[in-house]
Amino acid sequence: MRQARRGELSAYDELVRRYQERIYATVYHMTGNHEDANDLTQESFIKAYSALKSFKGGSSFYTWLYRIAVNKTINFLKQRRNKHHLSLDDLDFNAEHDPDLMALISEKTPHREVNLGELQKKLNEALMKLSEPHRTVVVLHDVQGVSHEEIAEIVGCNIGTVRSRLFYARQQLQGYLADYIKT
């Protein structure tokens, strides 16, 4: 970290490799588009590098990096309001063997003929219907597993707001996906 702040690119390359998967995943789940996620991830790392000297260390580097990526993505989504274009990544091999998902399809879903690909599309479309702040909280917490405290730090609000946004977002998603989730 210290070496990267001194401008050593090899050290920064290490930092990028360490965090790239988490940053990419967050941006991808917020945009639902691989190409946009690729651009925004790169731009986030570039901006973080240029702002590295101003990083005071008040929060962890990981939280600070997340904040840059989330803000950049939200700004991007605001400019592209109502022009969502899904370009989804493929599902990995393990998806078909995930017991939770299999149970959801075979037992819980009223639409029994539904397959994983269709479910993925419906899920992403439902996520895109949420407002950016609500989507951010659901993605960070329910998909990425980030804690409420860290989300509050990343988004710049208090924990109560994080919890209420999460509750509201889940309610909305539940409504959008009612045909695919047996409650």
Partner: protein, 167 residues
Amino acid sequence: MSEIPDDFKNLRRLLKLKQHEVPPPGYFNMLAGDVISRIRAGESGGQHTTLERLDEQWPRLAALLRLFEARPGVIGGLATSVCVVLLGAVVLVDRTDEADSPMATMQMAQAASAGPDLASAVQLAPADNSGIMVSTNPVSSLQPATTLFGAPESSLFQTAAFTPAGH
């Protein structure tokens, strides 16, 4: 208190599907290299856009500009309302000047005391009574107006008087 109500259990199960979405194979092997080469390219040239610089120094102004960029209708509406306000102000000032003109007020008062016929005549007469014809023609605009008695009633003309010494 349970943090996650039971109602959302199935939703959270479904959201697990997102964790199985993966980018094309080898994507992460390229990403760091791309980032570093873009940083190198940026170091050799200018790497900040104006908006990014503004974002660092005046984030609120940058946010306002982004809002205009995102919603062109907002800037259109703002410009229209500014124009309407300016136009309204000009019309209002114009009307106030007409009503407050001291000459017009004085003429109206005199005419009212003289009688109704004169009052209507004064209303038709121009407010400017200086004896100068106002015209857009630069030659005629400064010509004194003639009166019924042959001499203009203007301070521009003074009668000359000569008194020889000793008389």
